[in-house]
């Protein structure tokens, strides 16, 4: 499948992300003659162990995450970032987890986006919002290059596009910037050919960055 890169918005120290920033970013896409094609959505759920003895939480992963994507309704992804594990499963895995009763969902976040088409690229402008709430927690932009599936082969063109994107955003003089930190896919056992598992890993990494920035600001 086509390669994607995810950039997350890092607000400047002392500022917060808001819908005004989101609107300005959407306008940047329109500056590039991006055409609205539809919507996209992913949901991320943090899981915590169901423990008989609360003192042993240290023995269990603190970063166990589940991800569903609207574009793949029959799939579910699990990630444990600390141990670099990603698993793609049929969505029936959720029923299995429910029957096991060993983990419970704690916090859920939605990545809700608008999809734009720009020639060989697609851009998703994504707002990060808590499930069942409207408050904006973060902004991400997902850049997809349709002709190529190889991460290595698409590196140069992707970097060039990201540079152009950052320049356009910078002109808006917004209180922040887009950051891009590509995960080390090999650590997750993922290859050069891009897959949905790569996307899941990127979502988890971007979310970790958003959480870290929020913690630093607070």
């Amino acid at each position: 499948m086509p390669i994607r890169c995810i950039l997350h918005w890092q607000p400047n120290q002392g500022t917060v992300v808001n819908s005004q920033v989101l609107n300005e970013i959407s306008q940047c896409v329109e500056t590039l003659n991006g055409v609205k094609e539809g919507r996209c959505k992913a949901s991320l759920t943090f899981y915590r162990p169901n423990l008989r003895d609360q003192s042993v939480t240290i023995d269990f992963p603190r970063d166990f995450l589940g991800i569903s994507m609207l574009e793949l309704p029959n799939k579910y992804f699990f990630i444990i970032r600390g141990q670099k594990i990603v698993l793609e499963a049929d969505s029936s895995i959720l029923l299995i987890m429910e029957k096991l009763q060993s983990y419970k969902s704690k916090v859920a976040l939605n990545f809700e986006g608008v999809l734009y088409k720009l020639g060989d690229f697609q851009i998703r402008v994504i707002k990060v919002v808590p499930n069942q709430a409207e408050s904006l927690r973060g902004i991400m932009v997902e850049i997809e290059y349709l002709p190529i599936s190889s991460i290595e082969k698409s590196k140069q063109i992707m970097e060039e596009f990201i540079d152009i994107w950052k320049e356009i955003v910078a002109k808006k003089s917004l209180a922040g910037q887009f950051m891009h930190a590509e995960p080390n896919y090999a650590e997750y056992g993922l290859g050069d050919n891009y897959t949905s598992q790569h996307t899941a890993v990127q979502y988890a990494a971007a979310l970790a960055q958003l959480i870290q920035s929020a913690q630093v600001r607070n």
């Binding site: 162990p49 169901n50 423990l51 008989r52 003895d53 042993v56 023995d59 269990f60 992963p61 166990f64 699990f78 444990i80 141990q83 594990i85 990603v86 698993l87 793609e88 499963a89 049929d90 969505s91 029936s92 895995i93 029923l95 299995i96 029957k99 096991l100 009763q101 060993s102 983990y103 056992g189 598992q197």
Partner: protein, 212 residues
Amino acid sequence: MFCYLLQHVEALEILLQGLCGVQRERLRIHEICLKSGPHLGTVASEVRLLCDLEQSEPSWSVRHVGGAMRGAGAEQVSVLVRSMVESKTSKNALRLFYALGYKFDHELLRVGFSFNFYRGAQITVTVASINKMLKLHATDEAVPVTLGIQMVEVIAPATSENYTEVATAMSSFCEYLAPLLHLSKPGVSTGVVPTAAAAAAALMSDGGGTTL
């Protein structure tokens, strides 16, 4: 429904080939049973990871098997009814469940063949030896748990609305196997079928043309 088969495996295969009308599929499934570690979950839980070694690229799935249906409804059907949920996964399932706090309990390797066909219900018949590994996960060094014994299992998916019809279809099908073996609910002893030797001889000499 299931039973243990000591002999006449080849004859059974011929009989099944004739009854099912489909090609048999080879079976080589590595099943790893994991149990929740201490403290994890309000109740202990068990999950099975299955790796299909017959494919060119091993494929994994995760399975949860629930307890057997109990009560008057259960006694009225001649088959065991229990919930089962299965999910295909990518290859990291074992690493994930270990990281979540599940522990290795036991593993086995099923080697044999299966028939998957529709006859009133979608039925799968598997005939397989159950093998244990002498070293952890060493599927190339598996030995039979009990030499010479194969397990014959007949299963069919059902919903809570149609399980009695599915059970009837399964029982009807199993009657066709009666000359060779009697299948039963797990835990119910069946004994040897007296006609088995003669039936098997007929099947083997006739290559499947015999009507039993």
